[in-house]
């Protein structure tokens, strides 16, 4: 069978493209270890969060940073129009170890985007977004809400401060 020169060329180029795409995906998953968001965070009644009855649920705790045996756990509530913690006092976490974030919302859908990192998720009322991230370097990262959430949307900001492990005060456990 005669295969035209152009066809062979196209075939080659498309093969290279496919291999490149698959390569990128594998690199993304294995190399930088991009945080996955799935349903492991579970669900929680938005009203429970709104009323602060954290003892009624087993997959969310009072907002704050906890130094547990399993590592550092951060519980954040994104609500109109601030992050708790994050906005009034920054979230302080240590560098060089995995940090588990648990974020939920009692009112509308918010965004949780750490500028300059690969932390990036939607915060949906009734669901706990759970993901893990390791900050290699110390420094400050702004938290942005990048889902429309109402009139105060553009003021909804916060901060994560990554400190040396030695400077990290355990938080509550």
């Amino acid at each position: 069978m005669h295969v035209h020169r152009f066809e062979r060329l196209w075939f080659g180029v498309s093969l290279v493209l496919i291999v490149a795409f698959i390569g990128t995906i594998i690199y993304g998953a294995v190399g930088p270890g991009i945080a996955m968001v799935d349903d492991s965070g579970g669900t929680v009644e938005p009203s429970v969060i709104a009323d602060g009855n954290y003892e009624q649920t087993n997959n969310f705790r009072e907002p704050g940073v906890y130094d547990t045996e399993d590592g550092v756990e951060v519980y954040v509530i994104a609500r109109q129009y601030f992050f708790q913690p994050g906005t009034t006092e920054p979230i302080r976490v240590p560098a060089g170890e995995p940090i588990s974030f648990h974020v939920t919302s009692p009112d509308v859908t918010h965004g949780f985007n750490l500028a300059g990192t690969n932390v990036n998720t939607m915060v949906i009322p009734g669901q706990v977004a759970e993901f893990s991230v390791t900050f290699e370097e110390t420094g400050e990262h702004g938290i942005v809400c990048h889902e429309y959430c109402g009139s105060g949307h553009h003021t909804m900001e916060g901060q994560v401060v990554v400190v040396e492990q030695s400077e990290f005060e355990g938080g509550e456990n």
């Binding site: 196209w10 493209l17 968001v37 799935d38 669900t43 009692p106 859908t109 990036n120 939607m122 977004a129």
Partner: protein, 838 residues
Amino acid sequence: MTDDNQPRTDGGTATALPGDSHDDDHLPPRWSLKRWLVTTNHKDVGLLYLATAMFFLVFGGVLALLIRAQMWSPRAPGTGVLSAMAYNQAVSLHGLIMVFWFISPFATGFANYIVPLQIGAEDLAFPRLNALSYWLYLASGILVFASFFQGSSFAGGWTLYAPLNIPAFMPSIGATTTVFAIVVFCASITVGGVNFLTTIHRMRAPGLTMRSLPLFTWSWLLTAWMMLLAFAALLAAVMILLSDRMLGTTYFAATTAGGSVLWTHLFWFFGHPEVYIVFFPALGAMAEIFQTFSGNRIVGRKWFIVSMVLVALQSFIVWMHHMFLTSINLEVKTLFMATTIGISLPFDLMVFALIYTLIKGRIRWDTPMLYAFGALVLFIVGGITGVFLGAVVLDYEFRGTYWVVAHFHYVMVSGVTGLIAGLFYWFPKMTGKTYDEFLGKLSFAVYFTGFNLLYFPLFLAWGTPRRVFAYRPEYVGWHRLASVGAVILGIAFLLIIYNLAKSIVAGDDAAANPWPYSTTAEWAVASPPPIENFPGKPSYVSGSLEFLDDDATAAAAADGGTAATDGGHAALESGHGDDVHVDHASYWPVTIGLFTLVTALGLSGLQVGSYPSGLEGLFYQGASVLGVVGLLGSITAMGYENFTAHEGGLGEAWPFEGVENTKMGMWVFLASDVVLFGAFIGAAIFLRVAYGWTQWHPIPHNPIPGLVNTYLLLTSSFTVILALVAAQKRSRKGVVASLTLTFLLGLGFLANKAIEWVVLFSEGTGLDSSVRASTYYLTTGLHMGHVIAGLLVTAYLIWRAWNGAYTDGNDETLEYFGLYWHFVDIVWLFLFPLFYIV
């Protein structure tokens, strides 16, 4: 629910006998405003669509420029040209207007004008419905415009995410109006979809088989199918949202588990096919232009068509890739990643076919070709950057950033580029004038530069989060470049509009076929084509397009359904010689559009069951009443109007030779209704699963009234069949009696339902009591709305039957009403167990 009985009422008179005293075409001249208000001719309606869509392009474009002005530097809230809320509105409405009120209607304009010419039809199957879908579109556009003046327009993004979209979080009346506008737009799309599908399937010229259908028509056929089914899902979503906003149901309230995820499912089930709905017509136009300007038939034509069909099918199974950051489990996400990568494969094939067509041909770089080629280049960039997003792991990185913004603008606006190519390509045909070639090429140079300056820097500034105007200072340069590009792109559009406007006034006359090597039928007729399109009956039977002697076939067409069954041979059995008069004007589509606008404006004031107080409330209530009354009156009047349209089935109609136009239209409409009910029932089941299947009990305490209603409806279906039998026996009494019985049974159903609801209300179970109550009231309420619409039609049928209709051999209307009525019964058979027993 204006779209419910449209196909039926139109059909009732489309089959009227010829010989009524009609003037030749009733149509005022082109310079008269009246012509444009009453016209039902597909070419006029096409031009209306194009002009209106261009207006919305400018509207959406101005909003885009405001956004780019705000993005000139990173801003704190309250600084820059837009306030925080104004920015939210500008971005939301820019998206909504460009997607709904510009691109799709722009493509619809071409489809209206070109598709009937390409398939050899004198007009669409239901000309008045065509005009109606335009007027509904215009009404919805005016609603969007009005929403800015009712407090605040919708300010939660074009995706209208829940629960921000409910009054608790977005209380302005303008937001309700925006949602209402989308409902009316969906109605317009449904009416248009029914019309185009019937036309393309049923009204092709003899010899024009599906395989030889021109590519633009193919692309539009698939677009129309996708529109019909996808927009039905969106219609369900926005109807539920309207009910949450106006009546106070609690589907999307933050207190219910799963409400916001339900919205994303409903929205994106529509949202992804929408991407192809937007792009397919452009693809079809590009394929036509590539063939004409390379002088070469498209390479792998059959596989090109197969690819388009595959994409159209696959488009319905990729929606969850818009939801990778919601908490869906990883297995499902991986599945949707695979389907997403899968859908890019047929696209690769099409892109290669297009490129190969160019390589094998001798290209002439006229303006349409420049735009079409530009569209291909831009689409390739947009497509490749999209594959990154389709991969779950990479999407975590990119989602919610300007990478996405850049990607979908490359894809969507490459579609616009393809349609602009079509605009230049078909401009001589539509206006009879030639455009200025130099200005055309210049506009392309400016357009292509502006486009890439605008969107490419956004890839480089991809770390910018979406939906905010604060960003890291290192991106300032890229954003300023983009803003400059936006202005240049705007100038390009002005150049295009100037060029075309100038040419309409002072351009040279265009030949019937200005393009060498063009092959499709629209170039075989004058520019612009005469009102009846063709000098004779077009036929491809001999292998190429011929215009046969008109009289014989036209007379056969007038015989309606009987001639339809025997396909291409209808011409042979004619000979009565009576001239057929086809109508091209009706006042009712524009009237219905007007009253739809009034109704929607009035009802938009309704919020969680109450109108605003004082004079404002009086205005809204008055408009609601006036609108509904006017709407009922004008729909009835349209049903009663004598309007003769062209019949189908005289040429190729595979596989629908034996199905009369109106029947086909009814079936197509019911297909979209299946999706509508499917989405409502699916929503109820979704919420129930989120709530806990077993903790959820039916709202009615007693299933017996529901059971009685099941019997009532089934019996009423039976009586409709009796009516049809009576009509066939030419018994006027029998028809009237059977229909009256149907009416009474339906009334019994409603009375039973009313008692049930009154009891429930008195016990304190309202629409807002719980999500259980909401789903029960709304889903059975939607069904009840269908029953009420059916009963209104039944009353109309009884009145007509009393006056002797349907017993003269024309009993199709009864049959088609029967189809609708049986469908409504079947839906109840699903609702009854779901809401009364389980």
